[in-house]
Symmetry: D2
């Protein structure tokens, strides 16, 4: 298992007229969280694309418990529960400063050669960095 | 069953550097589709909020099949499969001009009194408009 | 002078907790308007990028008069006031159904070779389509 | 003069298919910068709205020099050049890690009673916090 916590401050642009964070914006918070998890691991996602490999999302599930609101300082806990192979799964748990659960989510991504759009293996360098966490 | 088709043109702002529609933007396309479905039914969502009732989303699931791209003229087919009660479920199917399946999704929403944030029933006027489709 | 009117329906995602269209979203409405203006002219912007030419924005000015609101069916009147050369200027005027002025804006764009990032001339085919409007 | 520097990491969602930060997203970066400037001053913008006062934007001007790109760690330097009265002006300067100028911008905002939509004075508590910087 690999796990990180990332802090995100809700922007005004991200609220809607109900006074909530718009329900579609959590996909972006999840993206920020998994990118920062990769950075902490020692392999920024940007470098992956520079190697010609992208990671498109193939599924996303979200359960909304409470709305987040403007200026909330959210914590996104991101977890890679299983050793990734062709696919890599991420779990997310968003909470606010009061510790209230905002939502939980899950995404699956694949590794893809960006020039051909064909699936590919996870780069070895990334595999080596992840390995110790799934021993 | 109640079903509508809505056309959406992909904006430049909605693409990402992979050249795809950013995966989080489909939540917005789904919103547009269900809003237009309500309008066609004869009850604009806006009027619902004017009556003090909002419809927050409580869950969303998406399966991504193919990326949509800049300037694609997408069709979002939105379906209310079951007679709504406390919750209302929407199914979505996004295809491009070539008829290729882009993604499928599902959202569940509830009816909520906007002043208290408490659950409420579907307004009777909306129930009456939906009823004939679930006979 | 070349002029077009484009209709845009305000999405829930585009509002903020003040109940207004977020001030940054008009840049996107302007984009939609100039893209549709090019399409009507007979030269979709997409084709320009397929020819290897992009049109980055180099300046934008907006004066906000009234807020637009959720579900407003806006009219964006877009004008190319002068015969474009190295730069192309667009003026925008956004009004709501009641004819109230929402905002006015102006953007300047340049033509750029997408592989090198260097400035380039407007493609001849586009020049030919614009010419009759600036006789 | 009152001045602050705020760091913003470019999200994947904020790029477009040109590989640039979409030109409309800088309005959001400017918002983040002025909100953090207020927080540092000791008066979070959120508290202002809790007092019933909002700050709608009445004009924005941007000059784009260089594109920002995915994962760039931008610095937004925000300046209040003059003692605010009915209006408050903010200047912005966005640079990347290499110190390259990305863009410069300017916004003007007013103070507005949120219940009536009418202009109002800057709250005294905010005036007191700003005063020492314009002696």
């Amino acid at each position: 298992m690999y796990q990180q916590e990332v802090k995100i401050r809700v922007r005004y642009a991200e609220t809607d007229q109900m006074g909530y964070v718009y329900y579609g914006n959590y996909a972006m918070y999840y993206e920020v969280a998994r990118v920062e998890a990769f950075r902490t691991l020692g392999f920024p996602y940007k470098r992956l694309e520079e190697m010609g490999v992208g990671m498109p999302v193939i599924s996303m599930n979200i359960k909304y418990h409470q709305p987040a609101r403007y200026d909330d300082h959210l914590t996104v806990k991101v977890t890679i529960p299983d050793k990734p192979r062709a696919r890599i799964k991420f779990l997310y748990e968003v909470t606010n400063e009061a510790g209230k659960l905002i939502n939980t989510g899950e995404t699956e991504l694949v590794f893809m050669k960006m020039d051909t759009g064909r699936p590919t293996r996870m780069p070895e360098v990334m595999e080596k960095l992840l390995e110790p966490h799934f021993a």
